[in-house]
Subunit: 308 residues, 2 copies
């Protein structure tokens, strides 16, 4: 009588890269409920074409190696070009070597930095940069829109796999589970990438447009999310004894091929992704009996897999 | 240059216990942006009246004691009366003694059950009950509605502190972070409370109306959310070696007063809660520069505190 309960992988959608939605009411329609029972995600993916997958670009991929495994971060130069470039500079000069997770706040963030206090200043990289909270809306930047209503943004969707929001004039990355952002002080221009965080709880979308998001974790979230919570205010560890150490943060391109984690990501403008999103939106199977008919941006997991 | 980053406590709202919203477009208006900077939550709470707080009812409160601390669960007899009664019976007959967390799936659930396989059958409690996924809408059951749009439900709000959704005819508890639900097999009527789970990641609202939710964790979420993830399919531990044990689950009323955790909860129909929700909805302070003007149901934390 042991329960398989519910299968965890949450995913679904309907694409509209070109559609115009001047306000939240004028969105395109949610696709109809598919007939029959929903296929399982592995079965949907088994029918995908190799062309529907893209490789992570090693020049914009970071590896953060913990004793318990590797966290792989995909960066988003379309949204935070200066921060992405700076984090690469910092990684290449060895700034992140022997770093530590200095803060873990439950249902919120794991945050990492240099363990030294005060931190050793970078030699080449910058400590602060002008904020990149949002970017100008640009039809050249892909945006695979979701028709589903969202609490926080007039329109949401995926830009090359990154969950994002947009309005008539701007686009921004959304603080979904696994989003990687740039720690800062009160001044919007006080962050630069020497301190980063990942979202480990219910997506705090109120942070959208208030912090620079530069990427997302595509592997290893369970390492960050299961760390002991910090006992201090806002989850900070009061002494280094509580820190979890990582060896370094490296740009994937700087590692020999044999040491890379070669992931590929299902393209969010692919027919298979659209099928998968809609299957989850209307999920009806042996376990799910009441399909919601809608899906939240942050409830969609973009599939990834090791390249064979 | 150390970052206070962003303070974690996310909370806000505007109450409308009596308002009618036949569909999602005809909702009442979002309250206007307050003037000036947003007050901090502790400052808002400092102005609350004692009458705005309610004590947890020890007859519907569970304690789950781990070596690392106590998880406190408030149950919701308005929504799952038969499951709440059955879990109390199971607790009182000792069914949960020497139990274990048998599944931890990242960004999803921690689930607990008897460690024995097959489990020892209950003597007094039931193994299965008729599902309580939803209940009839009833004006006698409080519902403090939010005006903010929601992806999954025509209307959302709080029922005596429990995040909930409703439509014209039904009400149900929402799978926000910390929701406690009833594990089951594929048959909707195959759960009863011998196996329970808590949501530890981004709120999987697609489960709403598909599983019986019987309560929420009001203290100790960080114990459940930071457990090592299970290596098996869907986060199950393949052998008992991976289990995290708890001593027992007890009804608070059955403990002597000195062993209880006397929490009180800010009433979600109080003026202070409304102020707090709206302050977070329009959060603007030294750190937040772009108030979203909206807030998600599962982004609101209902304040609790130890009784003095």
């Amino acid at each position: 009588m042991r329960r398989n309960l519910f299968s965890g992988f949450v995913t679904s959608f309907a694409l509209c890269s070109a559609c115009v939605s001047p306000d939240s009411e004028a969105r395109f329609a949610i696709p109809a409920q598919p007939e029959g029972l929903s296929p399982a995600i592995p079965d949907i993916l088994a029918g995908s074409s190799p062309l529907e997958w893209r490789s992570l670009d090693p020049e914009t991929t970071l590896y953060m190696d913990f004793p318990q495994g590797r966290v792989v971060i995909e960066m988003a130069p379309d949204f935070a070009p200066n921060h992405v470039a700076n984090v690469k500079t910092l990684a290449r000069e060895g700034y992140f070597r022997n770093g530590a997770v200095t803060r873990v706040q439950d249902n919120y963030v794991a945050q990492w930095a240099q363990a030294a206090e005060p931190p050793r200043p970078p030699r080449l990289g910058a400590v602060t940069l002008k904020a990149e909270f949002v970017r100008r809306r640009d039809p050249a930047i892909s945006f695979d829109a979701l028709p589903d209503p969202d609490t926080y943004a007039p329109e949401v969707g995926f830009s090359n796999g990154f969950p994002a929001g947009r309005d008539a004039s701007e686009m921004w990355l959304a603080h979904c589970y696994g989003a990687v952002g740039v720690g800062r002080d009160n001044d919007p221009d006080s962050g630069g990438g020497t301190e980063l965080y990942a979202i480990i709880g219910h997506s705090p979308r109120g942070l959208d447009r208030n912090i620079t998001v530069l990427g997302r974790v595509v592997q290893g979230m369970e390492i960050l999310s299961s760390l002991p919570r910090g006992p201090g205010a806002m989850g900070f560890f009061e002494t280094p004894a509580g820190y979890t150490r990582y060896a370094d943060i490296k740009v994937a391109a700087d590692l020999p091929a044999g040491q890379r984690t070669d992931l590929e990501i299902l393209r969010t403008d692919s027919a298979t992704f659209a099928t998968l999103v809609n299957a989850r939106r209307w999920r009806k199977d042996d376990f799910y009996h009441n399909p919601p008919g809608r899906i939240g941006l942050c409830n969609i997991t973009v599939p990834s897999r090791l390249k064979s």
